[in-house]
Structure formats: structure tokens, C-alpha cells
Subunit: 487 residues, 2 copies
């Protein structure tokens, strides 16, 4: 009876008309269908695209002594528990540990002057002129190439900078504290759009604006923040996501909320009226003002989740216009890099893709923390800035749930029925699914001195995620099969 | 041959298995399906719910001498071309033509003191105390009942008021001009949420706030608007719709945009710092501040489209808490009324539906102009305030395209791929389709003196649309069949 029951279904199978289920390449299914067979096509791809080295690494990680899922839960819980708080504004060299008068911080992973892209060079030139270390472009280029300037990534100093991300000694920087864990983060004051230092422009108007930020905006904002008290940025970002922002390239709501919050305080400082008026007009004219507040909010949230042993959660993604880089919680400060991609997007009148520099900036810290491109479903109007249709925005966010570890209940997306934002990228999931993090971004002109030319979406290079997983397997995985058989 | 070709298809029909298409009641289709027949069910209802009088009226309108479609195009083109502009603020009795010191304007269609609901009575009591015409509730009630007060709808004076909509002589009112057509509209200053006059509260704090608006906010705003110049409200509303507002019960973005626009000017007026600070704090604390700007924007847009001969476009919907009323462009100032409905929604802690007054307020002017409930797809987060899910918000807006005449390209809805808002309700389409305009609203306590208890969605009474169509047929339709046969 038992024997019969095992055989009968197989026999029955061959008596009924055969139906096929095809996994993967649709052309196989098409052939069967053409031959008259009934076929169900399943959209399937081999994990990790069938990459044997990666599959081996993932197996070794699974077989290793560390419970990576538990470590990732610990890391993402730290990220979710973060309380990014704007507490003060200070001068970079005075408040950022390790900065000197000849340090220049830049966006992305480390890069030498020789390898820097045009807009980053432009930012460096402008920074040296602003610091009084050079009088013009030629002097600045000579000094930058002389070896007397220390170039270093913002990320290594607790800072983040959009686009070129240049931070020099005298620049005022917002000071953020993660109130849940005590760590700090820094970012300069957003200059507005168009001809600005972060897009590689360094004309007199750019330098003059930077000086005004230092002499006028900075002291007033310092007094204002002292009088007002700390600003809970998690609350402001949460509100902005209900108002069509995503915190990276759409920041009109966040900027508005900060203005209405600070305006009463600004009026009470006893400062000259004209100074306050110009500051309020500057804020009102710059809808990206909030970007330099959302970025360090994300940075201080993510930095607290660094160095969790055995965690494969990504704690930084960043680009310098030459390389795209990734850092993983369990792998310390090591960068895994690949070539910076070209951005697909919309161009300002008079510019085209031929003018564009590759992907640049630390602003992808927003995506790393689960907002920005990951929250585009909250900001359908952003497609007017970066291209695409509102349905694309929904699709981008929805796909990100497949490579993330948690949903952030504090950052809710109305259009997805208030689902929490997809948060905490697991580098294992990126290589396993082949789904790359979605990043939206501004586009800088490839030459120094020009500025912004557009905005769009960009795909990070795959190999940096692959390399990170291979290194993760080395650090935490079981020994390779070959060494296991030898032992 | 020709004969044969006419017969053959019919013969063929009866040789093949019969398939049924069922229109309307699904139970018929279910019976056929149960009997083994192949049935296609079509969701169909008879036009106008099969109401013979309405069908006759619609036929008479079609057969009449006026091209109603052309008239409606004219009316809705006026509505779409409107340029609502905030130009000034003034004292009601000084700027609203016809107002006297004993005039009290209220929301909705005309209503006597005797028929007024609780919150409107509360607003009248507060208004009389504010004006110094009564010292307390008892004196106010006696005066209101004495016949010495002239009660009239805001709508008849070019004004609109949310909830009770009380406007008294000394109250400051925003002055709007439709820059395309020159007509004006007025609304008081929004007091905030909770215990406020428009929700029927009249305690000392309510009166004190009204006095502060008169003595402090009014003169400062007058100077500010003079210095700043007119504000193009079409542009502000368009932006707010990209930022999750719908301009009726979600106004956080609009309020923010107005604050950031006016803040630099407010600082420059040379007013005492404490006065400016309190105004900025008042604005920042009241996300509904913008409602009293969006409402008169809609009012002055719609008023320009009044009295278009032969137009069946609705130019006003309004409720006084007792009656819901409708006015139609081609029918002058005549109100078509029905009983105000109860609101379905969310209640503040400690309150329930048992505490609620019926639907009240002129704020449905926003829906009449194509925003508010008609734009809920732009404001998914509003469901946290009025109930339902974000998909409902999309469905409400989508349905409104079936009863409207145009799409307003200036007011785009990101979630609907930037489709223009459904604009200009055709009263014929309402009765023909049975689809009622969707209205979201606050809920007032039914007793005078309490205030707001919740917010939700409300269905207008069907009969006012029916009555309007019957009257429209009288005014513009062909003579009734009976009189035609007699002539």
C-alpha cells in the first residue's frame, strides 16, 4: 500500500497532458508554447546572477560562526533608535576633530588631487581662495598639487557634504548630535542652486556668498539655535515626508518647516533688521537649504551603527565623482569602491549629458539611512526634477524593501498606506537579488567653475557591493572549501 | 443576396450557444450563471436613478433653445482663468459693501436665528460680545432673537467663512481680488483649532484672541501686504498641492509657504519685536491659517463665473449647520437647499458622533472650485485627520472627474501623474450619475460654546441638486411635454 502510493502519482503524471513550468529565460517558455505545450513562465534569476565566487562567499557567511542576522538586527535597531538633533553651528577647524587650516574635506571615498573630477577640483580651488591660501585658480591648482594640502573624505571626520562636499577650515558647519547615542555629525550651510561651490563653481559671487555665510548667517544662526534650543530632526523629517519631500533632492517642505520654526527666534535676537531680513530671504529663496540638515541627520544616525561585529548593513555610500564607495558596519572604515556612474536625468536649458560629471557627493547618505531615493514614493513631484513618472517613484521605493533590513515607523510614506521607509541596506541582499540601491542626485558640470547642469537617477557600480561581500566572507565566513578540506 | 445577408447573421445567432449580457442588478446574472449560461455582468444604473421627473427635466434641457454645454464651457473657462490674489486686509464694515454695525454674516444659505444650529448660535453670541453689543450669553441671545440684528449669508456679500462663518463689523478680513476679472472676496483671519469662534466657542479666551487679531495682527498684516505687494494665490495653492495639501482640511504646506513668503517683510516693518514674534508664533502654531486664504481664493474665482446664461455649473455649495445649499451659475442667487447631513469621521479624545452638529461652513467652496475633497489624491496624509485610507483619497478624486467640466492644469495632482484637478461641478452630471460631490470638513460640537470635536467626510443631500436641475429645466428647457402638446 505504501509502495503503491509512492508510485501511483508518478504514473498518473505521465498519463495526463504534460504542463511545463519554466524558470528564468523566457525564450525557453516561448519555444515550448510554440510547440503547443502549456507553459507557466516564472521570472527567476539565479541568486547573485550565478556568480560562483559570490555564491561561495554567501555560503561561507551562512556557515560561519557569526549570526549575521542577529548582528544586522542590532545594527538596524541602532539606526532606527537614532535621534538626530541639530544642536549648534560652529567653525569647521574649531569643532571637527582633526581638521587643520590646511585640511580640505571632500565627498566620497579617498581621492588624490590628480584623480579628482572637474567639479571637485573646482570646489577645491574655490575653497583655497575662500581660505585666503590662494588668490586665483592657477595658484590654487598649484597649491592643491603641491602636497601641502591634506585631502580627506568628509566621512572620516564625521562630516558629509553634498556634491563636491568641500569643507575648509573657516567654513561654518551645522553640529548635529545623535541624542540616543551621543555621536556627532557636521555639514556646511547649503548655498542654494546654480553657481555654487558644491557644484564646482568658484567665481567671485560664489566666494562672496561663502563669506556672507561666515560673517552674517553663521553668528546669527549660532545665537538663534542657542536661544531656540535643539531641533529634533527626526520629527521634522517625518513631517516633511508627509509633505512631498524625500529629503535628498526635494526639500521644499523641510526648508519651509525649518523657516517657520526658527523665524520667531531670529526676530528676537536683537540683530540688525537688514541682517535678519537677508537671512530670511536667503532661506526662502533656497528650497535645498534643508538638504544640509537632512544629510548630517542621516550621518549621525548611521555612524552610531558602525562597527557592529558581524553586521553586513551598509553604513555609508558616497561618491567623489571618480569613485563610488561603500562601507559596511562589520568591516570598519574600509571603503569598497567602483567607478562613479553617469547620471540619467533632466538637464537645465542649454546643457546635455555631454556636459555632465559622473555621480558625485555624500548626499547618498540619505538613501543609506532609508530616505532620499528610498522614499521617492513620498515625493511624487520629485520626478519633475529628476525625470520619470510618479508610478516610477512608487516602484523605486517598493523595490528597496527587498534589500533592506527594516521599515522605519518614524518615517512613514502616505502613498504606501503609511508604510515605514525601507531602511538599512544589507549588502548580502544587494548581491543576492542584484537589486542596486536607488539614488537620486544633482548633476554637476564636468569642468571646474561651471556649476549645476541637471538632476536625475544613478545606479551605483555593482562591483563595490560584490567586493564588500567577498571581504565580509573573509572576515566572518567559514573557511573556503579548499582550506577546509586541507585542515 | 442582400436579403440573405440580412437573415444569415440572425440565423447564425440562434445556432450558436447563447451568451447573456446583464445590465444592472447582479442577481439576474447570478441566476443565469447558476443555470449554466455564460453571462457578462455590466455594472449599470439607470440615469438619475430612474427618477422620471429628473429624466424629463434633463430631456427638456437637452431639447431647449440654449446650448448648455457651450454655456458651461464659458463658465468653467472663467473659473480656470481666475487669478485669485491676496491684496490687502481691512475691517469688515469698512470694506465689505453693505455691511453695517448690526450685520452678522454667517456660513451657508440664509437661516433665521430660530433655525440656527448650536455652533452657529455660539458664533453669533461670541460675535455680539466681541462687538460690544452684548455683555454675556443671555444678553446676546436676547439681542439675536430681537430682530435688531441683520443675519445674512457670507456668500451674498462676497465673503466666505469656515464652520459657523461669523463675520461681524469690526472683524478684520482678508481682501482678495480676482486679477483676471476684478471681482473681490473676503474672509476673516483663521483663529486656530480647538476653542474658537467658528466652532461655536465664545469664552473669554476666544474673544481675547479675536481682539488681538484686531489690534495687533491686523495692522501689522496690513502694513506687510502693502510693503510686500499682492500674493498670487494660484501659484501658492499649486505649490501646496505638490506638498500634500488639498487646501481644505490639510493646509500645513500652504501655511508654511505663506509664512516663509511674508517673514522677511514682517521683520522690516519697524514694529515692536514682541508683536512680530507673537504673530510669527501664532502662524507657526496654526496649520489651518491657510484655510482662510484658500477659501476666498476659491470664492473670487467662482464668483466671476456667476450668472453665465444657460450654465449648469455650480458656483457655490455651502452649509449653515441646518441646511446645505447650492447655487448654479445660470440661476442667479437662488439657493437650492436640503437638510445638512451628519459627518462621518474621526473624533477628538472624549467626543463621539453623539456630540456632533450637522455639516456646517462655507469651506466647501474649495470643493466647488476643484480643490479640497476633490484634490484628496494630492494629500494622502489627510486621511489621518478625516479617516479612511490613502487609496480612498485617490478614489474620491478619481470619481469627481465624472461630475466635473474640466481639469485645472494649474492645480496638478502628482499621484495622478500630474492630472489637473477635477473642476467645475455640472449639476446635471450630479443627478445623472448619482455621484455626489465629495466634501471633507471639520466637525463642531452641537451645543454652543464647546468648539471642535472632530473631522471627516460628508455627503451633501441629494435633493438640492435635483431641485436645481428641475429649476434649470424651468428656466432653460423646452416646455414640458404636456404644454407642448397643448400648444
Amino acid at each position: 500500500m505504501a509502495e503503491q502510493s509512492r508510485v501511483a502519482p508518478v504514473a498518473a503524471l505521465f498519463k495526463s497532458p504534460l504542463k511545463a513550468v519554466n524558470l528564468g529565460l523566457p525564450s525557453f517558455a516561448a519555444n515550448l508554447a510554440a510547440a503547443g505545450a502549456e507553459v507557466v513562465q516564472v521570472d527567476w534569476r539565479p541568486p547573485a546572477g550565478g556568480d560562483a565566487a559570490v555564491l561561495d562567499a554567501l555560503d561561507r557567511i551562512d556557515a560561519g560562526p557569526i549570526d549575521v542576522d542577529a548582528a544586522n538586527k542590532q545594527a538596524v535597531d541602532i539606526l532606527l533608535a537614532a535621534k538626530p538633533t541639530l544642536i549648534d553651528i560652529g567653525v569647521a577647524a574649531e569643532v571637527i576633530p582633526g581638521m587643520t587650516s590646511t585640511t580640505i574635506l571632500h565627498s566620497g571615498p579617498p581621492v588624490t588631487w590628480e584623480r579628482m573630477c572637474g567639479p571637485m577640483r573646482g570646489g577645491v580651488i574655490g575653497g583655497l581662495i575662500y581660505e585666503g591660501l590662494a588668490n586665483d585658480r592657477a595658484e590654487a591648482e598649484a597649491l592643491a598639487a603641491s602636497g601641502r594640502i591634506t585631502f580627506a573624505p568628509c566621512h572620516g571626520y564625521g562630516a558629509v557634504g553634498p556634491m563636491a562636499g568641500i569643507v575648509t577650515a573657516k567654513m561654518p558647519v551645522w553640529i548635529f548630535e545623535n541624542a540616543a547615542f551621543g555621536n556627532r555629525a557636521y555639514a556646511t550651510v547649503n548655498e542654494g542652486l546654480g553657481k555654487v561651490l558644491r557644484y564646482g563653481a568658484f567665481s567671485d559671487e560664489v566666494i562672496a556668498r561663502l563669506r556672507w555665510i561666515e560673517t552674517d548667517l553663521y553668528p546669527v544662526m549660532k545665537k538663534a539655535l542657542k536661544r531656540h534650543g535643539p531641533i529634533d530632526m527626526r520629527s521634522v523629517i517625518a513631517q516633511a515626508l508627509q509633505m512631498g519631500d524625500e529629503g535628498h533632492n526635494r526639500n521644499r517642505a523641510g526648508t519651509s518647516l525649518i523657516i517657520r520654526e526658527l523665524a520667531p527666534t531670529l526676530v528676537q535676537l536683537g540683530e540688525p533688521v537688514e541682517r535678519i531680513v537677508r537671512i530670511l530671504e536667503f532661506l526662502n529663496a533656497n528650497d535645498h537649504f534643508f538638504l544640509n540638515l537632512s544629510m548630517p541627520s542621516c550621518k549621525c544616525a548611521l555612524d552610531a551603527a558602525r562597527n557592529v561585529k558581524g553586521s553586513s548593513m551598509i553604513v555609508a555610500m558616497a561618491r567623489n565623482g571618480t569613485d563610488f564607495g561603500v562601507q559596511v558596519s562589520g568591516l570598519g572604515d574600509r571603503w569598497f569602491t567602483g567607478p562613479a556612474s553617469m547620471v540619467e536625468g533632466l538637464y537645465l536649458p542649454g546643457y546635455s549629458a555631454a556636459d555632465a560629471a559622473p555621480d558625485i557627493g555624500d548626499s547618498v547618505i540619505t538613501e543609506t539611512a532609508g530616505i532620499g531615493g528610498f522614499c521617492m514614493a513620498a515625493a511624487p513631484a520629485i520626478v519633475k526634477f529628476v525625470g520619470g513618472a510618479p508610478q516610477d517613484a512608487i516602484a523605486y521605493t517598493t523595490r528597496m524593501y527587498e534589500i533592506t533590513l527594516a521599515e522605519n515607523g518614524a518615517y512613514q510614506i502616505p502613498a504606501l498606506d503609511f508604510r515605514g521607509s525601507p531602511t538599512g541596506v544589507d549588502v548580502r541582499k544587494v548581491v543576492e537579488t542584484g537589486i542596486l540601491p536607488v539614488v537620486n542626485t544633482g548633476i554637476a558640470h564636468k569642468e571646474p567653475g561651471v556649476g549645476m547642469v541637471g538632476a536625475g537617477l544613478v545606479k551605483p557600480p555593482r562591483n563595490c557591493f560584490r567586493d564588500a561581500v567577498l571581504a565580509f566572507a573573509e572576515a566572518y565566513g567559514a573557511p573556503p572549501a579548499s582550506s577546509r578540506s586541507e585542515s
